[in-house]
Amino acid sequence: MKKNTTNLAFYVPYGLWLGLFVIAPVLLIIYQSFFDIAGHFTLGNYATYFESGTYILMTLNSVVYAFIITALTLLISYPAAYLLHYTKHKQLWLLLIILPTWINLLLKAYAFIGIFSQDGGINSFLGMMGIGPKQFLFTDFSFIFVASYIEIPFMILPIFNAIEELNEGFVNASRDLGAKSWQTFTKVILPLTMSGVKAGVQAVFIPSLSLFMLTRLIGGNRVITLGTAIEEHFLVTMNWGMGSTIGVVLILAMFLIMFLTGERKRKGGRAS
């Protein structure tokens, strides 16, 4: 009996946290999404979302950008994590990779404005090479570049951990059975580190769907994502209902991603 009550006591802070900061806000958002700008109950927000092509287009737009950012991040992060695993002072290198995450997002965004602007670092370098100044800031390229830069540590970390946990014995066994390095990679290393890739994709894709500061500062509002739309509705048009509706869409998207990248039960029953 006593044991049970102490066990329960441990759950109290966790339960409070979950209730106050996760469940309550989500419920509030859902609740809010059923009211129009004048405070009347309505399903109109959802109707607007689905009927006006703008929102659907915006959603698709967000998904495409998030997808590109995630794919690019993954493409850079997996080899980086793999090389890191075989590097001598890997803890030091890892620290250097994580370091930028300690700097405020806005500071990094402003730094990139400096680098990409007409008289910034890149353009003066190009100028020296005799290539005229190019427009980098406020392009799709700069938006994707900066977003990927910011997300990379969150992708490298879980993949690096998965590779570290991989038993070298499996790699040796594969080679012993005749597999070349590439075959060993695709048939053994990649599948056994998939958990890290999935965790990384979750950590990058979902935030990328709702990036909003960067869209303004680096993307120059040319890139409009769901995140930007929510910000507009809450802070500019004051249409909280519509903003919440988009929020609900984002939450659903999050569950969908979790489901797609989650551990699926193996087929086939357990004997005995």
């Binding site: 014995g169 594969s174 080679r175 012993d176 059975l177 597999a179 086939g268």
Partner: protein
């Protein structure tokens, strides 16, 4: 008649200042069961790694069928390994694990299926194809690891302490199965163990290792009956080792008495060590005994009594006797001349073999 398929010639391996393998010379012939036997850290796994290609030797040659393979990578060498921890792929079921090497070779689907099933049958795991690795017992995992290797029909199968994770009963069973499997397949096995009983029971030939050197190689009977030095005598089986002097050929002195023996070829009055196996010692009365000892403790071992006794000079004697003794009794020990095995100090295996040849040929 039998041909050498693997040969190590003057192989050395050092890590910085530590010498791990010292001038290893090993010949492996077609179709036999070989064992590398030695205490932990003696270099057994290192020798396997020199053969399967996961280790660059510092000097010396590794030859497969007479061809030097030092620079051939592991995935191209025609040997397969059963690793100490099995290293079965956790993301594949039993069938896929066994099929792995065949899929790498891009064999036809139909052939893969037939060969996997027959390999599983060979290790008596029919019907386990769809099991996940985590759903197998230790002994079953070990058999999957063997099936995964033998399905590729290697010339030599390397097994790194495959039985060490199993409990005593299963271990015994698997010893029989391994031996039987080896004879049925006709594949050469190079088996690693630190268990001397296992080595004696299974092998056609044993390499006894210590400190990165092969101390002695030979059949189990040779090594048991004629250990080359103190280390081998002590490591293989149980033994009483006393120091003494060789008076002349076939006459040795220890415990202050002279005994007729079956060894020869030493210098007169050379200092030697004498080995007497506990099962060769018989209890008798004090006046008939060659050595007089006082019984200290006695354990019943099922088919014999294990008796620990001390002689006048406080040397310990281990005796396996079918008849019990009483604690504190003073008894005589008797043995035959051929039960005495005399070892020279620091004799090399070459000299040892040559000497045995000389006087046994007489």
């Amino acid at each position: 008649m039998s041909q050498t398929i693997i040969e190590l010639k003057h192989v050395n391996k050092t890590y910085g200042d530590t010498v791990v393998l010292k001038d290893i010379n090993i010949e492996i012939e077609q179709g036999k069961f070989y064992t590398l036997l030695g205490p932990s850290g003696s270099g057994k796994t290192t020798i396997l790694r020199a053969i399967n290609g996961f280790l660059d030797v510092t000097s010396g040659d590794v030859l497969f069928s007479g061809k030097r393979v030092n620079d051939i990578p592991a995935n191209e060498r025609k040997v397969n390994t059963v690793f100490q921890d099995y290293a079965l792929f956790p993301h594949m079921n039993v069938f896929e694990n066994v099929a792995y090497g065949l899929r790498i070779q891009k064999q036809a689907k139909k052939d893969i299926k037939a060969r996997v099933l027959s390999a599983l049958k060979m290790v008596r795991l029919e019907g386990y194809e769809d099991r996940e690795i985590a759903e197998l017992s230790g002994g079953q995992q070990q058999r999957v690891a063997i099936a995964r290797a033998i399905v590729l029909e290697p010339a030599v199968l390397l097994l790194d302490e495959p039985l060490s994770a199993l409990d005593a009963k299963l271990r015994k069973d698997m010893q029989y199965e391994l031996r039987e499997l080896q004879q049925r397949l006709g594949i050469t096995f190079l088996f690693v163990t630190h268990d001397q009983e296992e080595a004696l029971a299974l092998s056609d030939e044993i390499f006894v290792m210590n400190d990165g050197e092969v101390q002695q190689s030979g059949t189990p009977v040779d090594i048991y009956d004629e250990p080359i030095n103190h280390f081998v005598a002590d490591f293989i089986g149980e033994s009483n080792i006393v120091s003494g002097y060789m008076i002349e050929d076939y006459l040795v002195e220890f415990n202050g008495k002279q005994f007729e023996c079956a060894d020869a070829g030493m210098r007169p009055h050379e200092q030697v060590e004498v080995v007497l196996r506990p099962e060769d010692l018989d209890l008798t009365s004090v006046d008939q005994g060659k050595v007089t000892v006082t019984v200290d403790t006695q354990l019943f071992r099922g088919d014999y009594y294990e008796i620990v006794a001390y002689d006048g000079a406080k040397n310990e004697w281990l005796i396996h006797s079918t008849n019990p003794a009483k604690d504190g009794d003073t008894v005589g020990l008797t043995f035959d001349p051929e039960d005495i095995h005399v070892m020279r100090l620091n004799e090399s295996e070459e000299d040892f073999d040559a000497r045995l040849e000389r006087y046994e040929g007489e």
